[in-house]
């Protein structure tokens, strides 16, 4: 997307013609902080690099490689994209705080899955926000998939129930359930989500097979708390990181990977139906050093 143009690496300009010394490590620290890595991870990574530097002469190029290794190690690379063949039907529940991009990501996913030849059903589990179901319905049209919806103010667990029934009745391959945005601090809303989850599991064995937490790349340190509490409540199994087409770097996913072991599965890079990509840790790390 739009940031792709500026390829002059911040790290490159940082490293070129310089010695690897304390001052350089300080600059690197700044770079990590401003990419929202958080203080703990930044301190941790810098300390690891200091250790490596102390063990011997290090060229700027070697430092770059070392940094990449340190970051990649924390990003939990082993988990890749979703394997929809694990279950029939495969059920995805999408959760997250307000406005991060849940509904949009569902629209994009529906399109990708249908393109792979899957039959997809969407459940409009956000019955709270004004016109949330209409929004999902439009995405359903774009992707050419059916959307199960109830009226405004309906019980989202009832939507989940009907969506699961419809998925079985249509012999669909994938059900993606949208949920209302909620802050992780709202106890009753977190309980509501657990109930939705139980309903899915009762109707379809093993469901949800994936609980996808959507995080906004512009979010700072609060993203870690979000991930922690959503994981506690509904056993989040993966992350979609949205809005990476802006100038924010989304560095918090590194702390989340390190602490919670949650893999980033997808990144959102725009508002269009095709603006969803599998997460590529190399590209992610490279983008950190891109001039914004």
């Amino acid at each position: 997307a739009k940031t792709q143009g500026a390829l002059v690496g911040r790290l490159d300009s940082l490293l070129s013609g310089r010695r690897v010394d304390d001052e350089l490590l300080d600059d690197l620290e700044e770079l990590l902080i401003t990419a929202d890595f958080g203080m703990a991870t930044t301190g941790d990574v810098i300390q690891a690099l200091r250790g490596r530097v102390a063990r011997g002469e290090m060229s700027p190029a070697a430092l770059r490689t070392a940094l990449r290794e340190e970051l990649r190690e924390r990003l939990k690379l082993e988990a890749g994209a979703l394997d929809l063949n694990q279950a029939q039907p495969f059920v995805i529940m999408v959760v997250g705080v307000n406005g991060v991009g849940k509904t949009t990501t569902i629209g994009k996913l529906a399109r990708q899955f249908t393109a792979q030849g899957k039959r997809v059903v969407l459940g409009a589990g956000d019955t709270f926000r004004a016109a949330a179901a209409e929004q999902l319905a439009i995405w359903g049209e774009r992707a050419g998939v059916e959307v199960i919806r109830h009226g405004e103010g309906a019980d989202p667990a009832a939507v989940a129930f009907d969506a699961a029934k419809a998925t079985l009745a249509r012999k669909a391959d994938v059900l993606i359930l949208d949920t209302a945005g909620r802050l992780h601090t709202k106890v009753n809303l977190m309980e509501e989500m657990k109930k939705i989850r139980r309903v899915l599991g009762r109707e379809i064995p093993g469901a949800p097979h994936e609980t996808l937490l959507v995080l906004d790349a512009t979010t700072g340190q609060n993203a870690l708390i979000q991930a922690r509490l959503f994981k506690e409540a509904v056993e989040v199994s993966g992350i979609a990181l949205t809005k990476l087409d802006g100038t924010a770097k989304g560095g918090m996913v590194v702390a989340i990977g390190a602490e919670l072991g949650l893999p980033v599965r997808y990144v959102g890079i725009g508002e269009g139906v095709d603006d969803l990509r599998p997460f590529d840790p190399d590209l992610f790390v490279d983008a950190l050093f891109r001039e914004s």
Binding site: T34, D36, M39, V97, N98, G99, E134, G220, S292
Partner: protein, 307 residues
Amino acid sequence: MLDNLTEKFDSIFKKLRGHGRLTEENIKEALREVRLVLLEADVNFKVVKDFVEAVRERAVGQDVLKSLTPAQQVIKVVRDELGRLMGEGEDNRLDFGGRPPVAVMLCGLQGAGKTTSCGKLALKLRRDKRNPLLVPADVYRPAAIDQLKTVGRQLDIPVYDSQPDQDPVAICEAARRFAELNGYDTLILDTAGRLHIDATLMGELVRIKESLAPKEILLVADAMTGQDAVNVAASFDEQLSLTGVILTKLDGDARGGAALSIRAVTGKPIKLVGLGEKMDALEVFHPDRMAQRILGMGDVLSLIEKA
């Protein structure tokens, strides 16, 4: 967090208690803690740097007061400086002066809370005995117009009847004529979410501004925003000359360092805060409360204020 900072400060200043003055040397460690606390609250790196410098300048050379411990004294400097930066004592009321209909434009990144804030603002204005018209000028996001119309229906506040195939500038202009004819005194323009680096869409906002001359151009910003808040705010301000900010989603547990960052880079006041999804969850901004929140401080501050 507060206890944390006070405790840390207390142990840092143990030796200084009751005598001497604050020197560069003896506040150094305390400043390091301040820096950490602010960075952990998501205050922008550069803003933190300037802030710590300002605190150093004000603290160094002060006599240690009898009524406060040195720890409390530094915290007081930090807190005062933060309050000043957050615009304490400044007028942050909305300005609706001029010939009606007066326009208010809300803008910001995707998902920040613009549409919701438009509804909240309309409700607030009606309670202030104004007669607002909501104007859906987001023709891009699926069902954005529907969303605002639904909000308007819930509040029983009229919404201009726009369609997704219209041009946003044309919508706003037509809405103004409609308001003139029907006696609405305030237009609340709900614009589409956009990236500050999206030249085309930013240009659209500039055109709306030129045509409607809004009295208020408010950036709607999410309190959970991290380091990028400065880039976003500076860029919107540069292109549109903001008159203020609405900080949303403060009902969560985010420390809200974005507030300080935005304020510092734009110098524009935060006028309102969003404290929930419901339509009455909009309040005026209190710089002092925000300063305490960023520092993670509670009641001890009010104790210090009395000292």
